[in-house]
């Protein structure tokens, strides 16, 4: 209910904003400028909201395999980072370090993937293991800070993000840079280290399957195990968790390392599965997107894939909109911002006018 309202609100605001900017200034045409504005906005929003699924082939609507593949590929890292952040949020910590953990893991994985002539299965296994361990290592300092003093992990993780980016870029540059390319990218990975694609033509990699599987796995762990119960208790009431004999600090430390490991492999699929070389010249930003994914999924690992798929959907839609209409794809960020803003505002949905509105319209006070 709440999520639908917020998403609709975000779409409405962005629609209105687009409409305002699409009204032509010069009124030399005989057509009503408002009408032109509406038409252009509707055209853009049609592409925005449908293009990951369907495409207009000169009047005939067909399934858009290309964008559909991009959609699933885009969702993969978002599921991992969203899951990583949802897990720590569940225990009451806001992890801003996922971006650095992702980058550090991706760099380690890429360095290993560039080693030629290793047994394929072994190499891929080691790449993923090493990326996860690097992500975990990158989470140690923020984790330590967070149990030492509440909220200090925010700054520490921020520093770790920068260190990951600069040191990672340095390593890629000095060790495996492709000297023939003008842009900064690594050599092509060893063919043994490359994951097979599900769909060769549109380059669908297998990340989405593994990502969904991981999310479901952690969903069960949280829901069914004693460990999951501990995490939930710490998140809902630290003092109560302490009184019931849970070693809170230990658990908080552990969950952050696990989260780091998940974030560490978030970027690997995109590199060894899709690009087959290290291509990031700036930090890709999936760690930040993970925050949106996690809070849209209300910290529940089972919902993370849906929330990541939604985010990826509007992104690919926006990308297509930017290509085939006059509206900037940056619009999607405005929607993302609005979604986080209203999701975070817990008080807003508990305020009396809002509840009254709900009672009137739905007959149920709980949101």
């Amino acid at each position: 209910m709440k999520i639908a309202l917020i998403v609709i609100l975000g779409l409405l605001i962005s629609y209105f904003l687009t409409f305002l900017t699409m009204i032509p200034f010069s009124s030399d045409s005989v057509v009503d400028p408002l009408y032109t504005g509406f038409q252009k906005t509707n055209h853009a929003f049609f592409i925005f909201l449908t293009s990951p699924l369907i495409r207009d082939y000169s009047g005939e609507l067909r399934f858009n395999m290309m964008s559909f593949t991009q959609w699933l590929n885009e969702a993969t890292p978002l599921i991992f980072t969203g899951l990583a952040i949802a897990l720590v949020l569940k225990s009451g910590i806001l992890n801003l370090g996922a971006e650095g953990q992702l980058f550090a893991g991706a760099v380690t994985g890429s360095l290993l993937a560039a080693i030629p002539n290793v047994n394929g299965f072994l190499q891929i296994f080691v790449i993923f293991l090493a990326a996860a361990i690097t992500g975990s290592l990158w989470a140690i300092l923020p984790a330590y800070a967070s149990i030492k003093k509440k909220d200090s992990e925010i700054l520490v993780s921020l520093m770790m993000n920068y260190l990951a980016f600069y040191l990672g870029t340095y390593l890629i540059k000095t060790l495996i840079r492709d000297q023939n390319s003008g842009a900064l990218m690594s050599d092509k990975f060893s063919p043994n280290a490359v994951l097979p694609l599900i769909n060769e033509r549109y380059r669908l990699h297998m990340g989405i399957i593994v990502a969904c599987f991981t999310a479901v796995l952690f969903g069960f762990l949280i829901k069914k195990t004693k460990w999951g119960l501990k995490i939930k208790m710490i998140g809902s009431n630290v003092r109560f968790a302490e009184y019931s004999g849970i070693d809170v600090k230990r658990q908080l430390f552990k969950i952050q390392l696990i989260s780091g490991a998940i974030a560490g492999i978030a970027g690997i699929f995109e590199l060894v599965g899709y690009h087959q070389r290290f291509v990031w010249q700036t930090s890709p930003g999936y760690g930040w997107d993970g925050v949106i994914v996690a809070i849209m999924a209300s910290k529940n690992p089972f919902y993370v894939p849906f929330s990541a798929l939604f985010l990826a959907y509007i992104r690919i839609g926006a990308q297509n909109m930017g290509r085939y209409s006059d509206v900037s794809p940056q619009l999607v960020k405005i929607i993302q911002g609005i979604i986080i803003l209203f999701f975070a505002a817990e008080g807003l949905f508990k305020s009396e006018p809002f509840r009254a509105f709900l009672r009137k319209n739905r007959g149920s006070p709980d949101v």
Partner: protein
């Protein structure tokens, strides 16, 4: 040939540190004011970006520097107000709200840029008004130091004047004392009748104004246009500089200078085609070490 001596004996190197420090110092001072009040302002990056954009665009459309400044600063105030309303009134997590503001302002600037300028990467075709460059005549007679300190932008001098203003604000005014009380012990502050929400709101607003000035330096200083994502993490660096400097204006200023020295040095290294990453990473590593010494000592 690469020579450290050549870099360090060039007055241009030091002058560029001062130039580069301008937006970082503004952001660091903004972070300081917010942090003294116990309300971390993680939205600095977004506020800076937004005011860089609106300052450049408003000054170009109206051809007036004053209106440009008003435009830039009011956009900074609006974003700060959103941060305050959502986090204090609607009890949203202030960090999440700030992240939302950063994304929102990156989106809004990117979305509106083609609308106002017809270009997607920058607004070079708009003629923005820039802040004047200041020439101080008597500095001409001082060798070396004069070259370093002279011919900077108005905003650069203003940034260093703001250091003193912020010092006075925090240490010598009732507001500063209240702010400190609110930041250190909100319960006690409430019990003596201070309105925590109001004081924090004012602090965030001031923080936004300072950061907004930093943003305008980027698009209305040496460069007279806005480029996408032109802040390039300076808001975050300001936040890091504040973390390194702690709660004192002087150490925060010093650490802002440290970060800009790192950046300036890395530009010098680039000329010699040397890897710059470790120089750029160094201030962050130092900050990390300092943060941990601080945590250990608790």
């Amino acid at each position: 040939m690469f020579s450290l001596k050549e870099i360090f004996s060039d007055s241009y190197f030091y002058s560029s540190i001062i130039r580069i420090s301008t937006p970082i110092l503004f952001a660091a001072l903004g972070a300081l004011v917010a942090s003294v009040g116990g309300a971390p302002n993680v939205a600095l990056e977004g506020i800076m970006l937004m005011s860089a954009f609106s300052g450049a665009v408003v000054s170009a459309l109206t051809q007036s520097l004053t209106l440009g400044i008003i435009g830039g600063l009011s956009s900074a105030l609006i974003l700060s107000a959103i941060l305050c309303i959502f986090s204090f009134k609607y009890r949203a997590n202030i960090i999440l709200t700030a992240i939302a503001i950063n994304i929102l302002s990156s989106g809004l600037t990117g979305f509106l840029m083609p609308v106002v300028s017809g270009q997607t990467g920058n607004t070079t075709n708009l003629e923005s008004i820039v802040f004047p460059q200041i020439h101080i005549a008597f500095l001409d007679h001082i060798p070396f130091l004069g070259e370093i300190l002279n011919n900077h932008h108005l905003l650069t001098y203003l940034a260093y004047i703001c250091v003193f203003i912020v010092f006075i604000l925090l240490k010598k005014t009732p507001f500063g004392i209240h702010l400190k009380a609110v930041g250190e012990n909100p319960e006690a502050a409430v019990s003596v009748g201070l309105s925590v929400g109001k004081i924090k709101t004012v602090a965030i607003m001031i923080s936004g104004l300072l950061t907004g000035l930093g943003g305008m330096f980027l698009s209305m200083g040496y460069i007279s246009w806005f480029t996408r994502e032109m802040t390039g993490g300076r808001g975050w660096i300001g936040l890091a500089a504040q973390a390194l400097g702690g709660k004192s204006v002087w150490t925060v200023t010093a650490s802002a200078l440290l970060f800009s020295t790192g950046e300036s040095f890395s530009y010098s290294l680039q000329i010699y085609n040397l890897p710059t990453e470790w120089v750029q990473a160094l201030p962050f590593a130092i900050t990390l070490v300092v943060l941990f010494i601080y945590l250990k000592s608790r």
